[in-house]
């Protein structure tokens, strides 16, 4: 297969090397002349020392007959433009983009990039296997610890999603008073409807935590981990 790799950082360098080792035809595009020269010294003259975002240079690199274009620079905006140019101007059958900001994954897919690799998402996924995210987050202890400020992020599974605040069955000695939605904080009123993704801020006695967890996050499986937190 003929693969054009754009971006000669660590990812691009090792990717090109592995592909060559596996017997594929590879062109690596790297706009930094010094870096391009260094790679040429190490793995041979497969480097085009030009900006892979420019149609002219993509054409010179052979984008017209490429089977795959892999955009692996460190900048999401460059990777997007490279894949769009490859797709729409050179009819490259398969485009692959590295995405650093996981929030960009949807946009890239929506705009026709065939495959999206997000190292951030992968590492995040790996960490989240160890640390449950559906946890109450302790923000601060108030007084001498008899009250605490807690944040709970509502997921799709949270029983509170879609509920009106006043209908929640909260334990005595505990109140929810603010919600952070799309990074904007607002007070919770009786009629506020809670939504997926909301960060609910609560205040209460430590012993209310289990009940709060049940209402906002859902019942914990097995032993309730929030009890052990204290």
């Amino acid at each position: 297969m003929f693969v054009i790799v754009v971006g000669g950082g660590k990812v691009g360098y090792y990717l090109a090397k592995e592909l060559i080792g596996a017997g594929h035809e590879v062109v690596l595009m790297e706009k930094d002349r010094a870096r391009a020269a260094q790679i040429t010294d190490e793995i041979g003259s497969i480097v085009v020392a030009q900006d892979g975002c420019e149609g002219k240079y993509l054409a010179e690199a052979g984008a017209n007959r490429a089977d795959i274009v892999a955009a692996v620079t460190g900048d999401d905006e460059d990777n997007l433009v490279i894949c769009q140019m490859a797709k729409h101007h050179f009819d490259v059958p398969r485009t692959i983009a590295r995405v650093n900001n996981p929030k960009n994954e949807h946009l890239f897919k929506h705009l026709g990039v065939d495959e999206i690799i997000s190292p951030t998402r992968m590492i995040l996924g790996s960490i989240e296997q160890d640390i449950p995210v559906h946890e109450l987050l302790h923000l601060a202890a108030l007084g001498h610890g008899e009250l605490e400020l807690i944040e709970a992020q509502l997921t799709a599974d949270s029983p509170a999603v879609g509920q009106v605040a006043k209908d929640l069955d909260l334990p005595d000695g505990c109140a929810i008073f603010a919600v952070i939605r799309s990074e904007v904080a607002m007070p919770i009123r009786a009629e506020t409807v809670l939504m997926e993704g909301d960060k609910v801020i609560a205040i209460g006695r430590p012993e209310c935590e289990a009940a709060l967890h049940g209402q906002l996050i859902g019942e914990a499986e097995g032993a309730s981990p929030n009890v052990e937190v204290r």
Partner: protein, 169 residues
């Protein structure tokens, strides 16, 4: 109108001031707070420090449902991406991306993105002065195609229309 501008360079600052003067609600974004010194002292809009290709930053700036979104940084790709986030993810009504590379500007106009190419604008003024053929691209290249995945968010772009030759000569 709600106007969001990414990039507080000379052009961004001038436009922010002008839309603000005309009574519109303006939010301008730049990665450097120092850039906001370019804004006129009378500016009453919002200035937000942040990366204009970051969806969260754009959301905070009120891009959701903005009437006009201008991507005017020095980076063509940053502008392309900011404009596409605004158009496709946040539903801004009118979006214009400054793309100084004429090839990329044409490519994105073909993809349905209204683009503004400084290279063509300046070159055409000079060429017109000396009676040489110009690029023929109007100030804002009209989108000639449908933006991929996009419904018709954009009708006619707010172009000054016509060729630079006729307005400047």
């Amino acid at each position: 109108m709600n106007v969001v501008i990414v990039g507080c360079g000379r052009v961004g600052a001038v436009l922010a001031g002008a839309f603000d003067d005309a009574g519109h609600r303006v939010t301008i974004i730049d990665t450097q707070t120092l850039a906001f010194d370019r804004l006129p002292s009378t500016f009453k809009g919002n200035a937000i420090r942040g990366n204009g290709t970051d969806e969260d930053v754009l959301r905070r700036a009120g891009t959701e449902g903005a009437d006009l979104f201008l991507a005017l940084t020095e980076g063509d790709n940053r502008n392309v991406m900011a404009a596409q986030v605004a158009l496709e993810e946040l539903g801004a009504t009118k979006v214009i991306a400054k793309i100084n590379d004429p090839v990329r500007a044409r490519a994105y106009a073909d993809l349905g993105m209204p683009t503004l190419c400084r290279t063509n604008l300046i070159a055409d003024v000079v060429l017109a002065l000396f009676g040489l053929p110009t690029s023929g691209a109007p100030g804002v290249m009209a989108p000639t195609g449908q933006h991929p995945g996009g419904e018709a968010h954009h009708d006619a772009p707010p172009t000054g229309g016509g060729h630079v030759a006729t307005t400047e000569a």
